[in-house]
Subunit: 332 residues, 2 copies
Amino acid sequence: MRNKQVIFRDFLPKGAFPKESDMEVTESTVELTGAVAESSEGVLVKNLYLSCDPFMRNRMRKLANPSESYIASFEPGSPVTGFGVARVLESGHPNFKKGDLVWGITGWEEYSLLPAPGTCFKIEHTDVPLSYYTGLLVCSPKKGETVFISAASGAVGQLVGQFAKLSGCYVVGRPAAKKRSLAEEQARFDEAFNYKEESDLDAALKRYFPEGIDIYFENVGGKTLDAVLLNMKLHGRISVCGMISQYNLEQPEGVHNLMQIILKRVRMEGFSVFSYYHLYPKFLEIVLPWIREGRIVYVEDTAEGLENGPAALVGLFSGRNVGKQVVLVARE
Amino acid sequence: MRNKQVIFRDFLPKGAFPKESDMEVTESTVELTGAVAESSEGVLVKNLYLSCDPFMRNRMRKLANPSESYIASFEPGSPVTGFGVARVLESGHPNFKKGDLVWGITGWEEYSLLPAPGTCFKIEHTDVPLSYYTGLLVCSPKKGETVFISAASGAVGQLVGQFAKLSGCYVVGRPAAKKRSLAEEQARFDEAFNYKEESDLDAALKRYFPEGIDIYFENVGGKTLDAVLLNMKLHGRISVCGMISQYNLEQPEGVHNLMQIILKRVRMEGFSVFSYYHLYPKFLEIVLPWIREGRIVYVEDTAEGLENGPAALVGLFSGRNVGKQVVLVARE
């Protein structure tokens, strides 16, 4: 059977913006029966949805040593890998059987043979759009506070903002500069503003948060972080999820206002989904009912067809997506 | 009675290094009897020791609004204020009586009338040198980890390092570039190195911490923080006490390696002694026995005479002091 693949060509130099041509759409073949060797715990899957995530930029660099990153780099000449939703075609693993839907790390190809699907979960609830499973992994803010969300139209930002709203917080989001997105954010958050229309972020934040910010969900870094630091409240908290503005710079920007950490006694903490992976089933128990009841709205931006995957991934870094960027590989 | 005073002249411009001439030693007079008005809770004290602390630089600037700092600025034309040890001469406050020794915020003068001595504690244990009371306020690190202390010869750094040692940590300190200090640090810590002899801090840290740093006690900021960030361990913690390298800059230096906060899932948190003030008596209960038993060594650098106070305070910012800088006002 034909197996279309998105191959990662080679490591990017430091400071390079990822381009579509860093990936190549090719075709190979795959045996759909007998692909899983006997006594192997491998699983053969048909990929349905693939997730485009900013952290994938980190996997495009050559690491001097593995401790430089929390995740291994892509292998040049092999398919890109990432989160996705897939249907099991053949399984040697006790947790999965033919016909199961799974979510986890898979390949950017039509069919993947996952040698040890330890990072996969079986999808039990299919009344929620399957593609949602590619994106629902975030940390939740605490109650009763003022919250600023940068990258608010992204996969994570839109959810964190809504969780904060459900917790009774005052939430202001700054989505990428798209009117459609902005309107969506405004409906779901208390306020939203377009960063391309606010040249002075410090002034904008002072307007939206006259008393300061309790919680900043950091996904941008650089100048955005600098402006936010000036507006943090006493004992404010900064949850550091990502710094997308820095991923493609040769030298990261300098952040100048760290003295605010002392003056305001701020806590700033980085986290990675991989630390909380085991909580995913619990997380779904909470979130799926919210989605069914319409208390959470999840906006997706879908690229149709594996061959449009590279453009979708690259588009993340120019803020082209509105909502979680997914690639639809197959409708089944 | 004569009352020698150190007067704060005027606010310093941004980026100015404090100079002795920003303060002026003058003489006024004070009535030693009947100074405390009836029905007042004021206390008249004779000052014995005054504390020189880097945070005092922050009190020399004009604030646009009070929320810019955690503490009020000095008042031009009035005496400098800060922590000190003093003897009570007259008291209208129920907690203090004539003859008591107190520790708290007082004036840089021979005699101070403290209108509401809410920030003062009575000193109960006088078998430990009184001047020590001017400096013993720090947070303690956690157990069993690798610890790096910048500003290790300062009032706070020397103690934090010893507390970490007592908790079974591996401790490396970087004192200011003084041989005497360095030898002292080496005796008390596992390692100490001279930053003027280590032009590449990143390389030095990699040598002393091949496995990385669990806890960084931050008192320097800027380039030091940048190098430390590159050497933090997974789930490392940075306790942000001060950033002395930044206090006299017009524009703070940019810190470039904050992406490490995500990659290593680092927690960075600022604190202020003022949040923990109420714990001071408890802290002394623990520390005073350690000092008596010689398990903690506390190095002081004493300037004799109030008139030498300005030079002692200014000297902090060129690393002139070895150990806690105090000013001896009177031996009694």
